[in-house]
């Protein structure tokens, strides 16, 4: 076989493997960070710095009873968690990690990402429906409403970037930022996309679909063992995916001086992941109606205004 195939295979397994690995590691990293922010050590007993906590958790998840309730819709119940894993991993395919590193270089990379992130919501809704449980159902309904609302301006907020770069290809968008990161001209777009991204990944403060205080665990109340694990990893995958995408779209991707491009990419992504965790540590969950108002009455107009302004400026600049 030719080298390109080997390179492609290395890219596929490297990027996707790294994504899964990082997501798993993030379960530990997040708890450690939360611990520090709450003046306690966090998980530190298993292995050096508690790193093997991940392994311990994985073993635990694998060996727990894989329980499917009698009243569940069995095939859908099993299918649901796989969707989130699959769609998130597919989303990673279009991320340009560095020059020459990345699974695929798609012309419509951005659209592909949007499509994949929309797919992920099926996982939640189907899981909730199949559980046949009132808490799960409520969680599923919230997830559906939340995703539909926040997806609208998620896409819109990116249009500024697309206009400035003149392409949907993520690699080209990164290259278009050589003169300056889009976070400056597209500050509003960045904010809107980042918030929408949090909502898409059901992270605090937008974790209403699982809201453990009111809905026990929302859509995954009935899930256990590795099925729950898949939801769990899916969530962390989506955190990394959103962070990676923000890096790509607004923070110049792999661009940066002195250090190798991959390191730059990971540094930027890691910083954003930390922001995700910090949000969880600091911001309380809003009420459901507040969430909806915030989405439709503030975020959507902001995204539209941003789009209009960007378009206007671009036209004016010729």
């Amino acid at each position: 076989m030719s080298t390109t195939v080997w390179v492609s295979l290395a890219n596929i397994f490297g990027v996707l493997g790294a994504a899964v690995l990082l997501a798993a590691l993030l379960t530990w990293g997040e708890r450690r960070l939360l611990g520090f922010w709450q003046d306690r050590p966090g998980p530190n007993r298993v292995g050096p710095f508690g790193l093997f906590q991940v392994v311990a958790d994985m073993i635990k998840l694998f060996f727990k009873e894989d329980f499917i309730p009698r009243f569940a819709d069995r095939p859908v119940f099993i299918l649901a968690p796989t969707i989130v894993m699959a769609s998130m991993l597919l989303g990673f395919a279009v991320i340009p990690v560095a020059p020459m590193v990345g699974v695929i270089d798609l012309n419509v990379g951005l659209l592909f990402f949007l499509a994949m992130s929309s797919m992920a919501v099926y996982s939640v809704i189907l899981g909730a429906y199949a559980s046949n449980n009132k808490y799960a159902l409520l969680g599923g309904l919230r997830a559906a409403a939340q995703t539909v609302s926040y997806e609208v301006f998620m896409g819109l907020s990116l249009m500024g970037v697309v206009m400035m770069a003149g392409s949907f290809n993520l690699r080209e968008i990164v290259l278009a930022q050589q003169g300056g990161w889009f976070i400056l001209p597209q500050a509003i777009g960045f904010l809107v996309f980042f918030i929408a991204g949090i909502a898409e990944s059901h992270r605090l403060p937008f974790d209403l679909p699982e809201a453990e205080h009111e809905l026990t665990a929302g859509f995954h109340t009935e899930y256990s063992s590795m099925k729950f694990g898949m939801f769990f990893v899916g969530e962390y995958l989506s955190v990394i995916l959103i962070s990676a995408l923000v890096t790509t779209l607004f923070l110049g991707g792999w661009l940066g001086p002195w250090l190798p491009p991959v390191v730059w990419f990971f540094l930027k992504t890691g910083f954003l992941v930390m922001i995700f965790v910090l949000l969880r540590a600091a911001i309380p969950r809003p009420r459901y109606d507040q969430l909806m108002q915030f989405g439709w009455k503030i975020m959507l107009p902001l995204a539209l205004a941003n789009l209009l302004a960007t378009g206007g400026v671009l036209l004016w600049l010729g």
Binding site: F36, W37, D39, L278, L279, A282, I283
Partner: protein, 172 residues
């Protein structure tokens, strides 16, 4: 509103650089004051008799209702618990029983490390709780200040009591 959210994020972030408030407990034992509120003991008065008079106030003060006892009366006139039982698997170590105890019988100790594989072993009876000393209050004896007479302490012999009235005297 946004400023306040950002501020709280900043405040939380700053804790990355502050000392941990927790200690790694089984490896590193924290200092417990001698009056730390752990599990209860039943103490004895300076004469070596049980201090508990089975008044039931601890039981009624107990939020998880985990104390149960039955009053009985000794031949010497003292009230005493026939049984005194505490279910430590329910106890929340709040110390309200110690507060409620009018005779200093119940006192809390710094011991709270009670681990059992069988919950049944968490049920302590009076025999398990009684210690041989007076605990934190060395000199207090309820019957020396109470008005009830017991053998060895007749009417009028308690602290601050006058001689019993002789009804047949003139009582001027």
């Amino acid at each position: 509103m946004i400023a306040s959210q950002l501020r709280s994020m900043w405040l939380v972030f700053r804790h990355l650089f502050s000392r941990n408030a927790t200690v790694e407990y089984p490896d590193e034992k924290p200092y417990l004051a001698p009056r730390y509120r752990g599990r209860i003991v039943l103490t004895r008065d300076p004469d070596g008799d049980e201090r508990c008079v089975a008044c039931n106030l601890c039981a009624v003060a107990c939020p998880p209702d985990c104390i149960s006892l039955q009053k009985t009366e000794d031949e010497d006139g003292r009230w005493r618990p026939e049984y005194f039982r505490i279910n430590f698997s329910r106890c929340i170590m709040c110390g309200l029983c110690e507060d409620a105890c009018p005779t200093y019988a119940i006192q809390l100790t710094p011991d709270f490390e009670m681990c059992e594989y069988d919950r049944q072993n968490m049920v302590y009876e009076k025999e398990d709780l009684l210690i041989s000393g007076p605990g934190k209050y060395h000199d207090y004896s309820f019957y020396r200040v109470a008005g009830m007479s017991i053998s060895g302490k007749d009417k009028g012999e308690a602290v601050n009591e006058a001689e019993p009235v002789d009804v047949r005297s003139l009582n001027l």
